[in-house]
């Protein structure tokens, strides 16, 4: 799975590591839904940490499409909510 961290770049994540990332992704979604800033901040940091740790960074000129897009490091809950709201428009 190719994962993009916004503002950072692409990582190739081995399939066996995918469930852990997906689990954190769910925690993140839950935090967004509940509007829980602290849980959100923690989950986002965990998610980025996990992708960097388990994934292999792709070279800058290795341009591929990704299947997962992780918000910018240090994003606030409001920023991500605003980004997700662009879905309709």
């Amino acid at each position: 799975m190719i994962v993009r961290i916004l503002g950072e770049g692409l990582y190739e994540l081995p399939d066996p590591d995918l469930p852990v990332v997906e689990e954190i992704d769910d925690v993140l979604m839950d935090a967004v839904d509940r509007g829980d800033e602290a849980a959100f901040t923690g989950a986002l940091a965990d998610l980025i940490g996990e992708v960097r740790h388990s994934g292999t960074r792709l070279a800058h000129d290795d341009v591929r499409s990704s299947g997962m897009v992780v918000p910018h490091e240090g994003s606030s809950l409001a920023e991500v909510k605003a980004l997700l709201a662009e879905e309709g428009g």
Binding site: G7, D25, V63, G67, V70, L84
Partner: protein, 252 residues
């Protein structure tokens, strides 16, 4: 519903497709992509210059606030030396307010540094992508013209346009932060320039210094007064009061 990363992926994809809507055929799409990449790179470079300026400005302001903080600390010491505990307390409480502002500026500085880092990464990525895309697009265009083969084009364009959408979102986020940062820095500059910083925190321009100066000149007056009193006690002044005392005793 859904996950954050999947939804964001869909949003980024939609943005990427929208950017290329104007292309009439795959060959145009390649040229349009290339144009957009270059535009994006210019924008990212401008934002990077802005964010660097914002960071320097914050550092300058923090240094000014630090000077003020140190000065208030000195003033508190001087006030204590003059046994004026109330004034020392006032200086320290203003110092605490400034220290809080300094801390907030530290947080802002960290945020600007993070923006700078993300923009730098975006700039490097875009530069590398553009270089690679430039050669690839000519090859792909040639094969499209020769055989109408579109397969490689779609693949090349979808990756690059997603990356451009990422750059666009990152840029927007940075620009929002920069605007916010500039507004705050502007307000802070006005305060510092007008010399109103101590004013805004209560009191006159530097009323603490004025009180310290007044106390030190009044202690000089006290010293002179004491010297005069000592002279009077030693009887070296005209003896008006001594003769009045003698008159009192006369009727007895």
């Amino acid at each position: 519903m859904g996950s954050v990363t999947k939804r964001l992926s869909g949003i980024l994809q939609a943005k990427a497709n929208k950017a290329l809507d104007k292309a009439e055929n795959p060959a145009d799409m390649l040229d349009l992509s290339y144009e957009k990449q270059q535009e994006n790179l210019q924008k990212v470079r401008r934002a990077l210059a802005d964010v660097t300026t914002a960071k320097k400005r914050l550092e300058l302001q923090a240094a000014q606030l630090q000077d003020q903080t140190d000065k208030l600390q000195d003033q508190a010491k001087q006030a204590l030396a003059q046994n004026n505990e109330d004034l020392a307390r006032e200086a320290l409480s203003r110092r605490a307010t400034l220290a809080q502002q300094l801390q907030d500026m530290g947080t802002q500085h960290d945020q600007v540094a993070k923006q700078q880092q993300q923009l730098e990464a975006t700039e490097q990525r875009l530069s590398a992508e553009i270089e690679q895309f430039r050669t690839k697009k000519e090859t792909l265009k040639a094969s499209y013209v020769a055989s109408k083969a579109e397969s490689g084009i779609g693949e090349a364009v979808s990756g690059i346009s997603e990356s451009m959408a990422d750059a666009g979102v990152t840029l927007q986020r940075a620009q929002d932060k920069i605007a916010d940062m500039q507004a705050r820095a502007g307000a802070m500059d006005e305060l510092i320039d007008s010399g109103a910083l101590p004013d805004a925190l209560g009191g006159g321009k530097d009323d603490i210094q004025a009180q310290l100066d007044a106390a030190s000149s009044s202690s000089q007056v006290d010293a002179e007064l004491a010297a005069l009193k000592a002279q009077v006690a030693a009887g070296s002044l005209p003896s008006g009061s001594a003769s009045a005392g003698a008159d009192d005793q006369e009727p007895k």
